[in-house]
Symmetry: C2
Subunit: 102 residues, 2 copies
């Protein structure tokens, strides 16, 4: 492990898990988008976004500084909003295939 | 699970795992920063960054589009570069506490 190559193999494994979790998160966001659409609720709920950022910071024990965690989760929230928006469109989904050909 | 609250609880759990993995990734990046510093290797290695982005896209089976995965990993790479830079500074670390008071 104590070589650059060793650490990079570990990072590659972490990145595989990150891709999986980010997609699982986006499936949840799609479900929320569908429910909001059916219930006539607004897409953008700033209080929930503040809660997500506060949770991320309170779960953070470093070494990443809270400012980095916040920047990362702001990007994650941007993508979630986009996924929810697709899910709220009539007949909308946010499957990889359709989104690729936007 | 089939309520907004249920999906949000699932997202909160995913976010806890994301914070943990992102920090584990940054610990690897710090180790790489130390090795680069000791070996006189450059911080920025664009071929490795391209490889990380290519791996992330090839591991992606949606629903997030590849463009979203790329944007997320560009942010992750930005933060990794910052962590490595701290680790390469003389006596540098990138612990949360020190980084907070930059």
């Amino acid at each position: 492990m104590n070589t650059i190559e060793g650490w990079r193999r570990r990072i590659n494994e972490i990145d595989r898990q990150l891709v999986e979790l980010l997609n699982e998160r986006s499936r949840c966001a799609m479900e929320i988008g569908h429910i909001k659409h059916e219930s006539g609720l607004p897409l953008y709920q700033p209080d929930r976004e503040k809660e997500v950022l506060a949770n991320a910071e309170s779960n953070n024990h470093g070494p990443l500084p809270d400012t980095a965690i916040r920047r990362l989760f702001e990007r994650i929230l941007d993508e979630a909003r986009s996924v929810e928006r697709h899910a709220m469109e009539p007949g909308g989904s946010s499957r990889k295939d359709s989104a690729k050909h936007d």
